[in-house]
Symmetry: C2
Subunit: 263 residues, 2 copies
């Protein structure tokens, strides 16, 4: 399928904090349904996974804010992300007339991944998508049949093991793979207005950023912590074919109001 | 798509006892992969769901052998069936080169269901497929693209609620819906050789049965207990368009050796 300007796709990622709040989630799903044009959703769910692990007496271990996924934890995240959260989001979308289909990266081999190197830190069953091996063709077939893919962040190594994967990375990988078929915009929805100069001041939004200004703001320490990997993912996606990335509050999806990232 | 004799489909259901045994499951999945032609898989998983409920301190209540599904139990079965079991089966199939896609009845609204009447027994979040509302078109599109659907037995009421559904019924409903597109054979794989005259004697297999002989064997008390709903489902499927039903041991799938049911 040739890319032309009418052939647009929105790839939307919604974070775990909103997934964990039923009212915020329902409001977001209504907005997502109202978004015009071709689209695809990726959801997180770390908050609920941590609660379920607690109920099962499994200790959650993190290094640098990233979950270490042993066999018991893999079972929990697969149950919570691919089972409970994914199917409930699809049921909620179906209820309002949005023909969603819930998928993980293992399904139809949508997201083949590579287990992360155990050095210097062994994160266990954690992997990163191999973007060049991804095949957007089936997803494009679904989308052209008016079926909306809804992804959780579970992938696989093609050798029989499921892998826990960062949901932001799943979103950027899908956006990259689908940019071969569509002019693709990637939306990172979370609980802040966008990229802020001052993380405690929601009015300090940076409305527009390119790679050069990102490097500068990072060197000045204005962009720090969890925002760095999100923006690294974003500029990697732009570098590999995604037209535009928008970092924004979930409630502002329809107005597309947040930080817009360009090359 | 017109039905012709070359346009065949195998709908295969595998029971929870085999799903719970890693060696038996892997051996079965290898056979399933080697089965020629178009195909689709449905899996149970009750044994693992009961274990997970126990770990979470949730009491499993049954009436006449059927699980009562309260809100906590619905969460458990959705996590176990649609999450852990479904994604692991798909990962195992992908490993051996079978391009599987894991689905539930809520995905793409494949299996709209009706919550069961709370009288005389309130089974909670339990429902039965509404076959006339099922749409086999998307499944047929997947199958024609050499993607193999793998279903768990979770459906939904189209009003936002997931529903726990009998896996045998999910299998027969899918077979009925797809018999509009294909000459369909439904395989019920379990841990017996087929329908037996004497449940304790594996050599007492009844190789062939039609509806008339089923009624007779039932009235004589030769067919009893759990086999009755399975065979009721089977003859209902045959009555609604399925060409043939085979009840057999999972290890005999490739030889198609078991009880063959005809109109």
């Amino acid at each position: 399928m040739p890319i032309n300007s009418n052939n647009t796709l929105s790839v939307v990622k919604i974070g775990g904090n909103i997934v964990d709040n039923p009212d915020a989630l329902n409001s977001f799903l209504t907005d997502f349904h109202q978004m015009k044009g071709r689209k695809l959703l990726i959801h997180g769910g770390g908050v609920m996974a941590t609660k379920m692990a607690e109920q099962l007496g499994i200790e959650t271990k993190k290094v640098d804010g990233r979950r270490i996924t042993d066999e018991d934890t893999l079972r929990v995240v697969t149950m919570v992300y691919a089972g409970w959260i994914n199917k409930n989001i699809v049921a909620s979308l179906q209820k309002i007339g949005c023909n969603a289909i819930g998928l993980s990266g293992v399904d139809a081999n949508c997201i083949p991944s590579k287990r992360r190197n155990p050095e210097p830190v062994d994160f266990g069953f954690v992997g990163d998508p191999v973007t060049r091996k991804m095949n957007g063709k089936l997803l494009s077939t679904l989308i052209e049949n008016d079926v909306i893919p809804v992804f959780c962040a579970i992938t696989h190594d093609e050798k029989g093991s499921l892998l826990n994967t960062n949901a932001d990375t799943v979103a950027s990988s899908l956006a990259i793979a689908l940019s071969k078929f569509y002019r693709t915009t990637l939306y990172y929805c979370f609980e802040k207005e966008g990229v802020l100069r001052d993380v405690n001041d929601e009015s300090s939004l940076i409305p527009l950023m390119n790679h050069e200004s990102f490097i500068k703001l990072k060197s000045q320490g204005i962009i720090a912590d969890g925002m760095i990997p999100k923006l690294d993912n974003s500029f990697k996606a732009i570098n590999e074919g995604v037209s535009e990335v928008v970092v924004l509050h979930a409630k502002n999806l329809l107005e597309k109001r947040g930080t817009i990232l360009n090359p």
